[in-house]
Structure formats: structure tokens, C-alpha cells
């Protein structure tokens, strides 16, 4: 059974802090790893990672995949209150008949205090 585990479960920081969120996976047919941000309802896409060691960056957020360690990290620098959300890690481990079916981790709930 495919499995995705995220840590920590929750995190409280102050504005300006840097945070690192972790995701590890055990799947049979890895295709890609994705990070989503869920503020209230609909998760919104952040990054997709397919190759080890190549950092993806968007503003203060960055992410990298380590296929040897079967893990990924999501970094947020200079955090702001607007970064408060649940961050979801997901792995696409389907075959070509499975579309983009994702297996999600349990999420990390981040709260950024002013």
C-alpha cells in the first residue's frame, strides 16, 4: 500500500521565522511528488517535483526532492501570517491508466503568529 507521511503534524512560529516541512513516502511506482497549500477549503498547487536534487522556488517558498531518501522538504523563509495553512504533500504513484491520482499525506498545519 502506498504511503505518504508528513511531519511535523503542526507548527507554530512567529512572523519572520523560517520553517521546514517534511514529507516521506513509500510507493511502488513513483512518478512525481507535489506540494499543496490548503487555507480554508480548496487545496492550491505549489510545486511538482520529479527529479532528485533540483530545487523548485517560488518567492519565499522552495522545495527539493531526495529520491534516495524517499523524501522531500518544503521551506518557507521570512514567514508571514498569510502563510498560515495546512500544507499537503502528495505523491503521484499511478500507472498511465490512473491519470494523476494522488496519495496524500496527513498534512502539516502551520500557524504564523504576528
Amino acid at each position: 500500500e502506498d504511503k505518504v507521511v508528513q511531519s511535523p503534524l503542526s507548527l507554530v512560529v512567529h512572523e519572520g521565522d523560517t520553517v521546514t516541512l517534511n514529507c516521506s513516502y513509500e510507493v511502488t511506482n513513483f512518478r512525481s511528488l507535489l506540494w499543496y497549500k490548503q487555507e480554508k477549503k480548496a487545496p492550491t498547487f505549489l510545486f511538482m517535483l520529479t527529479s532528485s536534487g533540483i530545487e523548485k522556488k517560488s518567492g519565499r517558498l522552495s522545495s527539493i526532492l531526495d529520491k534516495k531518501e524517499l523524501s522531500s522538504i518544503l521551506n518557507i523563509t521570512a514567514t508571514q501570517t498569510g502563510d498560515s495553512a495546512i500544507y499537503l504533500c502528495a505523491v503521484d504513484a499511478g500507472d498511465n491508466n490512473a491519470g494523476n491520482m494522488l496519495t496524500f499525506g496527513g498534512g502539516t498545519r502551520l500557524m504564523v503568529k504576528p
Partner: protein
């Protein structure tokens, strides 16, 4: 439509009643997915449609759950004889099949509360 649309946004029902949740995916997206998110939890896969057929129903938790999709567009998720443990947010997502972007576009979900 511009995004994935789900209805109702909130549904409160009594234990034992049937409920029907609707998802209208992004126009042109052939793949449609249903996920369930219990309070404070990650997303649990329920079912995936490619066009009108469902190659993967492995996530449906019991035979009280069923889903269909007609015309390659709108999908309905039906829960019969609801139980309190069915209370959750039911999220629908769609994507362009054949393009391995991995990106699913999510609706805002239907929050189901079973009393």
C-alpha cells in the same frame, strides 16, 4: 466553468438518510477525482473517473458509497444510509488526462455533517 464547482457547500443530514453530492469539473478536463477529508486529516482517495468510466473505485469505503459521471462532465457521489463517521469534507478535483503535470484542480468541497 472557470473552476471546479461543488454543491451543496454544506449539508446537514440525519443518520440513515441518503445524500447526493455534485461536482462540475473544469470544462475539457477528462479526469475527475473524489477525495474525502476528515477533520484535521489529509485527503483520502475515494474514486477516479476517466471520462464516464471509473478505472479505480478502490477507495470507496463501503457499498453505501457510489458515484457516477455522465456525459464526461458532471459527477455525483451518493452516500446511502449515512452514518456519523461519514461526516467529512468531500473534495472533487479534475485534471487533464494524458498530461503528467500532476496538478489536480480542486473544488471548495461539500461539508457533510451526519447527526
Amino acid at each position: 466553468g472557470a473552476g471546479v464547482s461543488q454543491s451543496p457547500s454544506n449539508k446537514v443530514t440525519e443518520k440513515g438518510k441518503d445524500v447526493e453530492l455534485r461536482c462540475d469539473p473544469i470544462s475539457g478536463h477528462t479526469a475527475l477525482y473524489w477525495y474525502r477529508q476528515s477533520l484535521g486529516q489529509g485527503l483520502e482517495f475515494l474514486i477516479y473517473f476517466q471520462g464516464n468510466s471509473a478505472p479505480d473505485k478502490s477507495g470507496l469505503p463501503s457499498d453505501r458509497f457510489s458515484a457516477e459521471r455522465t456525459g464526461g462532465s458532471v459527477s455525483t457521489l451518493t452516500i446511502q444510509r449515512t452514518q456519523q463517521e461519514d461526516s467529512a469534507v468531500y473534495l472533487c478535483a479534475s485534471s487533464l488526462t494524458g498530461i503528467n503535470t500532476g496538478e489536480l484542480f480542486f473544488g471548495e468541497g461539500s461539508r457533510l455533517t451526519v447527526l
